[in-house]
Symmetry: D3
Subunit: 330 residues, 6 copies
């Protein structure tokens, strides 16, 4: 259970057993008003939090109640859990929309287990070490944008493949920056400032692509334009603002950093409109792919609840994953 | 032969026969200073115009002459054509760089055979018929940008696949607008203003992607960023300028037109970072593909000089093309 | 509800509420004779019309009744609708096969909303404008084949991707002919008669590939041979009949029109045994693809019943579709 | 050297050494009339037979001679071989077109090394063992078509991948029939008559797809329609002729055999408009692929002239081939 | 029903009707201990044999019973079948794990219908005819390995695509050897001993890759390494053992047979780390593919229980299969 | 020029100018004995070292000289360089095979610029830090194999894509180990010993796959089996030797490390018979790919000799590479 900001302890969906009283806030999704064979109205719905979802049924419902429900949104539910045809469902007695500002959103959205303040501080330090004047100015313009940085620290890193949690974008960027810092000394031909700036900015558009107030989803704009193009637009807007403020960013520098962003998915089929064509673009692409896959693989291994040596089939990886660790003596 | 601006008639490369005096301006490419087995210096080079290229050899050359040559660039050449091992080459007596502003560039770059003024006028008319206020404002901002429109009327439509000539971008856009105008009445569900604006703007970034002063090539910026992303940046810059001037372009309208641009190659493997997701994006994609292929196919058929019923193998189409037309009576 | 030819009004499946008397003709599919745990026989079945299907249950059934049922086919059903585990089902009291000739098939198969007579008249006009004598003779031989033209006006344009309705083949061909007529003047190098004949005949084999008496399905012959090869066989049969009647169709004309048919899917992976190798074949391919996608996209947008800006995921298009239209003022 | 029908011995291209008198019949290809730097006309050409080709040069040529040459065709050449820049070429003194009927075509086109009469006899025997009345009738209609069978015994099996020689179609079909006969007893569920008829007819359209009078090439019709569709048209023509003569071939039998033909390339990307959907179609596809690859692989191994254990890179197989055989004792 | 070794007749899952007493051994899978809404514990499980599976429910269960169950494993079940919501399920009264050695495993795993002794004898004969001394020694080392040959005669040929039954590996290898023996005389350039040894050994690693005591599954080692690499390791182990015993296998012979094994899937995408590069490797690849597909296609046709001319969609073949046989007279 | 072991200074191919005396050792390739048009014998050949190759011609040659030449091999050449048709060639007066042991092979094969002793020492240190007893034993068995380690320090890392130089395998493995050591602390879930051992052993089979005495090429065995399968065989041989010596390597440990080797190309199409299925296998795959691409990209950039901002087209990367570095001030 989770201690909420209001001092209340949220009962998670995956902790509800049959025959219990339910009195808590959940996200309601896809409520539908139906009539029984006797003509009585009832509402079918899903009730969810970050641990799962259950069917809900409110018998003796009315159109007034139905219309009052957010679709989707937070609701306070009073009722009781029961087994119906061997599936658990919640029979709802009362249901009422609740002000989202009063809700501890972490109960409803998975959140990184890492310390966001600490991670952001390290991001600032690593990016702060960039020495090239214009690259440094460009990155500082982002770091100085308080509203954007707040989103940067909250946004998920993805919808479901990897880092799909509140703070996931920060966690992913932070981890990539640490990898970059660790391996850059091993490849002295590479321009480190370009790699660090590229890593910092490569997914910045995800702050606009994804929405994450009650659940992870794409914004309309995100779905039409995508985070790659949005990131490119963002650095051009920041460069324009810098120019207006007297700091000119050279066009070829902007193209070089823009190219890293456009090519960081590495292949056309993954939505990159350009293939990597600089050594730095290749490095950012590989660090991104490595860090994403490490998260995806270790998360899938951690999430496996069976006692099998293997996880379930991972469609994105086209394999099951072997999770048995080496015996200490072999 | 072509009457130049200077009243001089250019002798085209494909008109030179063996044993002729040469005294004209060509583009020199890849000049190399070499020494013969006797130790004498000579310069090997290619001499080109829009009709082809020949080997050039300047015997008794010096490093001073070599260094004075543009690489590549326009040069005035005096010399003589001769057959060497059955290939025509030009033996150069004198060679000197020439001011590009004194050159009639049309002799060196293929040019659309259509009337550019007439085409641009029709583009203005068709785009001028857009009635949606913000879309109209956005398009008019482009039409009012004199420098850009000059480039729009000169730029090629591509490097080599289709419309690869001066004025090709205009020719392609003009043709697509006429197709759109012809078929839009047949698909009443489609929003015509979006399609017309999308067609007008879809390749605008090619004005920055390609250079075409002496030959067709990619700019550094074009190769790093690509015309698709450049077109997107351009409409955002124009929208920002309109906003600064008091005309707000709604964000979702900008996303909708931006989506048409980002998806107009239709598939990831052709460099579109987004797949078409609106009816209008599909229509622009299909009109673009149709018009490009019609130009590519009819150009290849026209270019075939043999008497065969078939063109040479067209690698991009994975076929040879059958060019025999129907006999009038069957 | 739909007024049938017999003056009766059909109650559509998607209009049935719980607790209603049912007394109408439906298509029965997949009836199965089962026994309950008490050993009583009952029949499980689906009852369908063009708006959907419901489970049907006939308790106290007998093997005689079961054997009398068409599998599938039209049946007259008397019974009652009820909610069972929140799903509507029909409890059948009596069920009896019915003569298909007495059924208004339009209630059971979706039908184009366009006027078939009008469309066929326009097809005749556009095809009638073909001036090349042999192409005109070939097309007229098809137009004069009354039985075939009846099928041509009834057949669906496809199983599920686009124009999947009675009259869909006609609607698709008609729309393509109008597009061809609209854009042919813009591409003067193209031989218009070949394009018009190619469009008219390209899918003619669908009249044999698909069956559409009670539901859309493939014929055995259609599944083994396919409409592309069937269309080719049909033009050869017609040419042979013309030859026997004294009108010779030149072999290379037949190959040229045959090639358009064989290549009109544009790529091997879509079942074309030949890639387009004439300008006319490319044009037919593009018009076909454009018209099919326009129908597919606008149908998916129209069919979306939620209030979302986006349709459900469209697997064939690998995207969801954005359906929000421009606000009048932007 | 090859003893010709005329009692003359042809000197093959690959037997000509430098400094020899040349006085023989070759195929001339791509003759071009050019002028030297002194303005004298000469003809450049290729002179070929089945063993290779050499450059030919006729100095002091005239437009009359040039126009008299077949392009391509058989010519009698008198001249002399010489080394020019280390390449052998033929200096032509006189050249004259020659009546193809007087030429032993085997000198100019590779020919199967197997006995065609013997192979065709075995084909007749194996096909003659088909017992199903209609399948037997259909196959006998082909065997009884003398003109077609003459082509069937002469046509190549392909342009260059496998069995690319006169008689190659017969050799390939004969070998496949023998494989089918050998393995059919091992797969008792398969209908042997269908497999044997399918093998016999699967490539019959190659008799129309390929021309092979002086060199192997595609006919216009072959390139537009392809041998798969041509084979289908041929069995329908034969079935129609049988029907006219009183022997009806059942439509579903015709579809079943037609399906084998349409699917025998096994995959869409290899030009099959249908994928195999019967056990017999799968068997014909596999026997075809096996026999073609065996010929392709063993031919490439035989053709290797170096002493290497490996052949040159085989692009169609994406590998070099290892040709070292097992030592007798390991 | 199947007469077991213990004289008892097993009642197969697909023979159980509603309302019957159940008293037999089945495989229990995925037992779960749950509580009803009243708090009573029950066990949900699947009960299976080779003919299918049913839901099982044991009400009034205890944690002791739950813990005593194998997961999965053989259990003796007493209870009764009943219809629940039209699905048959087994209500379990008593359930107890049973010693697998007392179970007739054939009731639980599909088994080849062919005579294994007879097949193995023929394998010995065909492989025994290999005359090359070292290849013969290598194959005999496998035939002499009694434990391995026992596995070879029991292992399935695959998980689900083809020969997925006890004895399937033997059946597949036996059938391939017979095909090889039948066609080798038709391809005299091929080294028959290499093909026969290659066929015999190509899938030997499946004895280690697959487990098949109660159900077919992959071993951990099989999933990590795969049968292709395992087969290669096995021939190297046998060669090392022969060498230790005084019989040296030449390295290039081992590479040649190893190459056949590594390349027998024919394409990288099917898990072959090498493409076929010898004529013999191509032949083994084609025979393997032919025999696997013949089994897959005929099994799918045999398994179809409907009266349709077509099987259900076969995803691995991307088609439905046509199963109607020729009418005797056409 | 390079000071050889014999105190002689090798004149490199790319240092030879026209008109110079040649008296040095080169690799002769593809010598061919030909006759001139006058009937005189001459030998055409290529003469090469690590910097390139030139045509060689020995006039007045004899069959005796021709037969004495290695094909290919080291030869001492005396002669003279000359320009022939603007290409440099070497006219050979005398040519004689030379004992390879007397040749400084570094003149003929590119060699890593890094210090091999230092790199191998660091490899020993990093691998020496593996703590898991069996993994450590397995790796030490490799490090203790002097002959193998000598090969490991000399072998190239590839044929042409990356690290294609003497010492390239060591350089690549060393660099990967350093990357692994740098990033392993950032991914605490990963088992570091497995990654380090996997990196050390992943390409060990290249010591057998490639030959590199005079030029880089594949061994027969390497081409038939490949380095992936060879590496697997090597660890099994070492494990067997350890077992014989009393140190048992657990089968699942061997499978886990074997799996890393089999899957380290990451995708089937790159010759991996297994896809990565453990977190450690993913990490080795990504480090391998990153390090290989960094070498490939920076080598291509370094090798570019033009003054262009772009390298030539890189076919393996499907792009040209942008090599302009950031201006210090932007």
């Amino acid at each position: 259970m989770a201690q909420s900001a209001q001092g209340h302890t949220h009962k998670f969906i995956n902790q509800i057993a049959a025959g219990e009283t339910v009195n808590d806030v959940y996200v309601v999704r896809e409520p539908i008003l139906r009539s029984t064979s006797r003509g009585d109205l009832y509402i079918a719905m899903f009730l969810c939090d970050r641990t799962g979802q259950l069917n809900g049924r409110m018998w003796q419902a009315s159109e007034v109640v139905y219309k009052s429900l957010p679709k989707p949104g937070f609701v306070h539910v009073q009722g009781r859990s029961e087994l119906y045809q061997n599936n658990l469902q919640i029979v709802v007695n009362t249901i009422a929309a609740i002000d989202p500002s009063k809700v501890n959103v972490e109960n409803y959205l998975a959140r990184t287990t890492k310390d966001c303040n600490q991670m952001f501080k390290e991001v600032q330090e690593i990016v702060g070490a960039i020495r090239h004047p214009q690259l440094a100015a460009l990155c500082q313009a982002f770091l100085a944008d308080k509203d954007l940085m707040k989103c940067f620290c909250s946004a998920p890193g993805g919808m479901k493949m990897h880092h799909d949690c509140i703070g996931g974008l920060l966690e992913h960027t932070h981890s990539m920056l640490r990898v970059a810092k660790a391996i850059l000394p091993l490849y002295p031909q590479i321009q480190p400032d370009l790699v660090l700036a590229g890593v910092f900015l490569h997914d910045m558009g995800k702050t606009e692509e994804l929405s994450y107030d009650m659940a992870f989803s794409y914004t309309d704009s995100g779905q039409l334009i995508g985070h790659i193009s949005k990131s490119l637009l963002m650095i051009h807007r920041k460069a324009e603002a810098l120019r207006a403020a007297g700091t000119k960013i050279a066009p070829d520098l902007l193209d070089t950093i823009g190219h890293i962003i456009l090519s960081h998915h590495g292949e056309y089929e993954f939505g990159s409109p350009k293939l990597p064509a600089t050594a730095e673009a290749f490095m950012v692409y590989y660090i991104d792919d490595l860090d994403a896959k490490m998260d995806q693989v270790t998360s899938a291994i951690d999430a496996e609840t069976s006692e099998s040596n293997w996880t379930a089939w991972q469609n994105a990886l086209q394999t099951r994953l072997y999770r048995k660790r080496l015996a200490p003596q072999g």
